[in-house]
């Protein structure tokens, strides 16, 4: 641990400090959106969106290297595909009420497959593991700017519409009867989830997005009595997992993404066991 703190103050380790800043700031959005995702029970939607992001990254690489649009960073492709996936999933779940899970499952796999096909047709070799499993140490200043923008949007949205969002998540039918456009709020929530997922992909990778989105909120849910308490606790746990994950992965030379997830998973398991023991007494 001391080794990690020393490394942070080393001027050569700019990348480590950047990773810590991004992880800490991103925890704000992760905790808030994660709480919505857990209480609204849409974590599998977030999973589908994250795998569609791979399609966008593949398309981005293709456009950049084959089509020749140098400025088109794969992250643009990621953002576009995430929003597109959110809109498709939202439309399906709002209007075609049956077989929603089938559509989501199909989208999940198709997103992944199109990404691989794009990469097949793109000249050059790309190491996809940083996208699949995340590499917080590759994070750039652009990511830091993205995190700040997302935080402002997510926090603003939540503070401004807290009561309406609570009503929509708790009982969307009743919310509609109170004159709230529940469908629009649901769509907006899915789009914000999509943007958060893009950031999560940078930190823990496509495959592990759901874990860092839902585990902090699930742990928080064991203690929180109200939604805003759940959000604050989820932010705290998300920061805690990111910090300890980074420290452990640096000290033992492990991949950062999986380390963060395993720590989060262990804490969740311990909390579940303890609450179970307390309840049975």
């Amino acid at each position: 641990m001391i080794e990690f703190i020393n490394a942070l103050s080393d001027p050569d380790n700019e990348f480590l400090r950047l990773a810590l800043y991004v992880g800490t700031l991103a925890s704000l959005s992760f905790g808030i959106i994660g709480s919505y995702v857990v209480t609204r029970r849409i974590s599998y939607l977030a999973g589908a969106i994250s795998h569609c992001v791979f399609g966008g990254i593949g398309a981005g690489l293709y456009i950049q290297n084959k089509v020749g649009l140098e400025w088109f960073d794969p992250m643009y492709g990621a953002v576009i595909s995430a929003i597109l996936a959110a809109v498709i999933i939202g439309t399906v779940s709002l209007h075609a009420q049956q077989r929603e899970d089938t559509v989501i499952g199909a989208l999940w796999a198709i997103g992944m497959a199109t990404g691989l096909l794009f990469i097949d047709r793109t000249p050059g070799y790309f190491d996809m593991s940083s996208y699949l499993f995340g590499d917080i140490l590759l994070i750039s200043n652009i990511d830091l700017q993205l995190v700040v923008i997302l935080d402002i949007i997510v926090v603003g949205f939540t503070v401004f519409f807290y009561n309406k969002l609570l009503a929509v998540c708790f009982d969307d039918e009743f919310a509609r009867l109170r004159g709230i456009n529940a469908g629009a709020f649901y769509m907006l929530l899915l789009c914000l989830t999509a943007l958060t997922v893009v950031l999560l992909v940078r930190v823990v990778g496509i495959v592990m997005v759901i874990a860092l989105l839902t585990i902090p909120a699930a742990v928080a849910g064991q203690f929180a009595k109200r939604l805003w308490q759940m959000m604050l606790l989820a932010i705290f746990f998300c920061m805690l997992f990111t910090w300890t994950g980074l420290a452990v992965s640096y000290s033992y030379r492990l991949s950062s993404g999986p380390t963060i997830i395993v720590i989060a998973g262990l804490v969740y398991l311990i909390v579940l066991l303890f609450t179970r023991i307390i309840k049975t007494r």
Partner: protein
């Protein structure tokens, strides 16, 4: 169209996609100040009827007027208590949070003010749940939850109260107390409640709306064994014309 009619249904038919009709050629008038129970066997269209009143679903044919306007435009005047089965029982909300949701739509923004909290507390007082304001909603018993959802509906300051099976999972003595509360509320608003128990309900309410694909209204005094048997016995409804029915009365086969 008289102003004193809260709900008017003209020749309403409704079917969920690719299924046989749930409601067929329904004519119904609910007068202001009525306290009626909607009864009928499972799957007969009781909840469907409520959802039509609320504009949550649209009829295939026919016309619905609620307070002389479309159901969508009249929604804010209706207090609705759904069955709580569809709610997530792990959701982190307190009783107060739930009741305050009834205040949405009365304010312009998304914030609650002191008067909202006062209204929520008095709604809780009406269902005798003030002591539970700070409790978690998911720690309550079934009957307590139902009372909280009634308080949420009252918080909307409605002129019409629609209650979907408010008496299910409730002990008889609490049911009795709940009916007394509703009788008190009936002085200020029209109340329609869906019930699975015809015998008991008929002692308190003014009239009974029988639903089984078709809809027939009976004043409480007319309810007898034959009618109950008809409602639960087969798919043929009792044909009985009274002043509430449409001009031609009902046609059944």
């Amino acid at each position: 169209m008289s102003v004193s009619n809260d709900i008017v249904l003209n020749n309403i038919s409704f079917a969920y996609a690719s299924a046989k009709p749930i409601l067929e050629d329904v004519n119904l008038i609910v007068k202001h100040g009525e306290f009626a129970s909607i009864v009928g066997p499972n799957g007969s269209g009781k909840t469907t009827l409520l959802k039509l009143f609320l504009g949550l679903i649209k009829p295939n044919t026919g016309e619905i007027l609620v307070f002389g306007d479309t159901p969508e435009n009249s929604r804010l005047k209706i207090g609705y208590m759904p069955q709580y089965a569809h709610l997530d029982m792990q959701f982190p909300v307190t009783v107060m949070d739930v009741v305050l949701m009834g205040r949405l739509g009365l304010n312009r923004g998304s914030r609650f003010f002191k008067n909202d909290r006062i209204a929520a507390m008095s709604a809780l007082e009406e269902v005798k749940m003030t002591d539970f304001a700070k409790h978690l909603f998911n720690e309550l018993s079934g009957g307590q939850r139902q009372r909280v959802l009634i308080a949420r509906a009252l918080c909307c300051e409605p002129e019409l109260l629609l209650l979907d099976e408010p008496m299910s999972n409730i002990d008889p003595e609490i049911e009795e107390a709940l009916f007394e509360i509703l009788q008190g509320l009936n002085k200020r608003m029209t109340i329609l409640l869906v019930s699975h128990d015809l015998g008991f309900v008929s002692q308190k309410v003014n009239s009974v709306i029988c639903v089984n694909r078709c809809v027939v209204v009976h004043p409480t005094s007319e309810i007898n064994g034959t009618i109950i048997k008809d409602i639960y016995g087969g798919d043929i409804c009792m044909i009985r014309h009274d002043h509430r029915c449409g001009e031609e009365g009902h046609q059944h086969d």
